[in-house]
Amino acid sequence: MDDEKRSYAALWLVMSLLLFVGALWAIADDNIFRRPWKKFQAEFNRLEIQHLKDAIAAEQQHLDADPAYQEATKTLAEAKTAVSSGEHARKIADLQRQLRQAQQQDQSKDLNLRFVKSELEELRFLYDDALHHGQPTEALLAKIQQREQLRTERQAIYSASQQGIEDLQNQIKTLESAVKTAQEAVDKLTATRDDIEQKLEGVSLGYLPGPKASPPFIGLDWQPKIPKIQQVVLEEFDRNNFDKPIARVDRCTSCHAGINKVGFEDEPNPWKTHPHRELLLGKHPPEKFGCTPCHGGQGPAVNSPEVAHGNFLDKNGHVENVEFIEQPLNRGTKVQASCLKCHAGVQHLEGAETIARGEHLFEELGCHGCHLVEGYDDLAKEDGVSAVGPSLRRIGAKVDHAWMVRWITNPHEFRPRTRMPNFMFQEEQAVQIAAFLLSATREPSETWLAAHPAPSAPGDAARGKELVETIGCRACHALSPDEVAGQLGANKDIAPNLSHIAEKTDARWIYNWIRNPRTYSAIARMPDLRLSDDEARAITAYLVTLGKKQPGPDDLETRLADPANVAAGERLVRKYGCPGCHDIPGMESESRIGVELSSFGSKTKEELFFGDRTDVPETWDDWTYNKLATPRTYATKWIEQVMPQFDLADEDIRALLVFLASRTDSKVPGRYVYHAPGADRVVAGRRLVARYNCTGCHVIEGTGGDIRRLYQDQLTLAPPILMGEGEKVQSDWLFNFVEAPVPIRPWLKLRMPTFHLAAPEANTVVGYFTALDQVTVPYVHIERAALNQANLEVGKLLTSKDYFDCFSCHQRGAVKPQGPPEGWAPDLALAHARLNPEWIVKWIHDPQKLMPGTKMPSFYPGGPPDVLGGDDDAQIRALRDYVVSLGLPDATPSPQQAAGVTTGGAGPSQ
């Protein structure tokens, strides 16, 4: 009973209130709290409107100050005044009144005409009908004629009325034309401002339009649009767990609304314009590539910036990860880790400088010697021997034993800039390793020594010094402790610093090594400079003056001979992975000792071992940075680490970190991948260029030419810049030249060395240069019969003393110029076999453009006016034909001729 009387009003009220509050909260949560992007987008819209308004104001200010605009607006105002007042205005008003009248009358005239036309139609029908029914038609015909008469009259009246109206309109137009012309003049000046105003309308709310100058409602200036989710869908970009292609959705631009718009460079994020927008977004339009393929992060997430990014910057600027997010944003240069997903090569790729540096360091520091990385598994060993470090196969014939122990203990002590890392061995361990290496290489070392005796007599050290300084040694080698020749990364040398070479080795080894490094090591990077016996002895004599032998530990030889030490040394060599970089007898097929890094970039922090380093923040970046800076830092009392200390510079560590971040399993569908013609040949070529340090002498792809530091005052004595080499020389000539160089430039003391390249390597060089210049047909065929005889005569005349006097400097086979060879220029009799005829044309046009600093002067524009009518192009073609005819065999039948095929050859001039 009581229950029925009990009032639930209070409960109901509370519940209703709760429900009401809950509903309010749900609406607010759905629209505001969980939609931070709305706020960002609205703010961007406001910013954009503000920018446009500022731009309009600035443009208006600019216009106001422009006398032309002042003049035009004045003219317009005057014209307007003229038509709205005075005699002019009265005339117009009068004409307009007449026009209105005429238009009214015109209507009735039109109507009268129509009536008579209708009557005519009716009468014609009645006439036909009467004719068909055999009734009389004469009366009807007469009526028709009468009506036709009437129609002609009324037609004339109507046409006259129409003409009258047009006349009146034209009169008004003429009177008002001054206004129109003045308005057009003003519009032309205000085009920029009007464009911006139109843009402003475009970004403002569509349904509140208003006159441009005044806002639509009081206090409701230009209204921002209602924020909308902006998204890019990349079809079939990702793969799900069943390996089926799925779309990737990026909604980043919902907040980053200004990313692809000019003018927001100085705004804070998320409104900022993309840095280097033109290059990066120009090549990768966001509507095609989205954002996350490069930047990472959670594309569809829009509820919180932290979750969408997967990480955030704490107040110290340190990157903090958000828990359980697998794809954190690539911040800073780390975004470059994505370049390698789609680009086959990143070297010389604009905007990819950091990862390019990281990739180069990874290869050149020999990381892949210990760590398996997909794509680099073949790189560590060539023909089954390690290629990163020098071969130790005959080390017993090379180094001083005491030096060897010091070097193994800490190589950075002897050469701070060596790329060999420091394994932090105790002296005891170093002796053991030396003992093993000397014992393992005893037999090959002794055999080599027997075949390579010491120089017959001591050489002239002064001449040796001069040779070292002039023939090109310094392109790679520094000679004093502070000098830097070729640099790897920020603080490593490409080739050994020779300032204390005599402490390390002796005259006999140096002499035999420099005569041909390949007789000592089949994988030597050092080339053969084709030294004569005299030259080799002179250089040896000079080099042995650099440094001197230092004593080693007591009874070193006894300890080195101790079999226990040899055995212990072998264990150490295996444990620390020395065969990863060095060729060591009996260890050719040792496996890599480090962990595989193929997918290291996708490792989560749970997969990384931080050891006792509780101070290191638990992120991939922090772990990797500290590992590269101090490789054994995560070792604990129970867990040993063997990775050596590289002593890398901070920027190099960060570059390597970016490269390691690029090592992931993710694959990008083919249509997103950049396919440049010849990309694989370019990548292979760059690797070879790095291996043999071609850039020590030559500037290639705009970098290198380290030795040019010594020729700043005399750039003509520096090695040639290899710009457009693929286009310049014939492929088969280049192949033969890199295999066996012949001197081309008699004035250079520097020597192009012989690298003893295997045929595939020489082919890589040719393929690289032709791919760089996108040469599609790398072959050239020239035959005398195909050359235009008249051209040859003109070319010969142009090269004569009266004109260009080419042979004042250029050698022509056996005919040599006056003066010493230093003043000569290349032998033109070689041109037909060496140069691409079309390149000769470009070269003669402007030599400085193709090789800045060249001794070859410009003869054009301004060829002699009395030859071929002063036509520069025709003269140059004649010179080309004459130059390729020099040294060309008279009549060697080509295979085509033998087969009866006619060919065009180099082509007569057009």
């Binding site: 003393k801 260009f804 400097c809 006056q818 600093g853 002067p857 301004g862």
Partner: protein, 240 residues
């Protein structure tokens, strides 16, 4: 303020500003200018003039030449020493109405060092009738390397920006070497055969003066110029 000054200054000075000079030269009227005159002498026993053996075209060039790199007169005065007063302002730098002439005669550059106001067009003349080339090595201006065959006895090369020294060589005759001095101010002089020089119309004040000789290098001296007075100096250069 500085920007306005540059804008209102003459075109040459504006060009110097474009060239990235930190302190552009400012043209002002000089009414009470002083004069700097004197000589530059060799410190020590004067070296005998060096000889160059001619290895090419002896019928035009002759057999032997005096090396013009370092010429010391009987009184110890050094020829061809460049004297540059580091003036921030002074009289207007005028491009000469008559183009400066740089002649190649008997395979020598004449003059050996050519001083001209920046913005000048040089008339490069080949009086020899054999192939020469004008090869300049510039940092600020574009380097030129133009052939001057027999049929082109005169070519013109404009040097827009102040720069010195610009090395000029002929690659056909390797001994032919000279210099161009594209001056930023009118207060630049070259010593004559006796080592004497004179610079007039200097606004009164204290100046750094750079003296440079191609073999002996560069040295900075200080002078004080008084209104309508002549300041005499006697400077020395030696082999370093």
């Amino acid at each position: 303020m500085r920007r306005e000054l540059v804008l209102s200054a003459i075109a040459l000075v504006a060009m110097a500003a474009v060239a990235g000079r930190s302190a552009a030269y400012e043209a002002v009227a000089v009414t009470d200018g002083g004069t700097l005159s004197g000589s530059v002498k060799f410190d020590g026993a004067p070296p005998a003039p060096a000889k160059i053996a001619v290895t090419k075209d002896p019928e035009v060039c002759g057999k032997e030449k005096v090396n013009p790199e370092l010429l010391v007169g009987p009184g110890g005065g050094i020829a061809n020493v460049l004297v540059v007063v580091k003036a921030a302002k002074g009289k207007k730098l005028e491009v000469p109405a008559q183009n400066p002439l740089f002649d190649q005669k008997t395979c020598e550059f004449n003059p050996h060092i050519l001083v001209f106001p920046a913005g000048s067009t040089i008339d490069v003349q080949n009086s020899d009738g054999i192939l020469h080339n004008i090869h300049t090595t510039s940092q600020t201006n574009p380097s030129a390397n133009q052939a001057q065959p027999k049929y082109k006895p005169k070519i013109q090369i404009k040097v827009e920006k102040p720069e010195w020294p610009i090395k000029v060589q002929c690659d056909v005759h390797p001994w032919m070497a000279g210099f161009w001095v594209s001056a930023e101010t009118p207060y630049v002089a070259l010593t004559d055969a006796s080592g004497a020089f004179k610079i007039v119309d200097l606004p009164p004040g204290d100046y750094d003066v750079e003296i440079w000789q191609e073999k002996l290098g560069k040295k900075t001296e200080k002078v004080s110029i008084k209104a309508k007075e002549e300041t005499k100096v006697d400077w020395k250069l030696s082999k370093s």
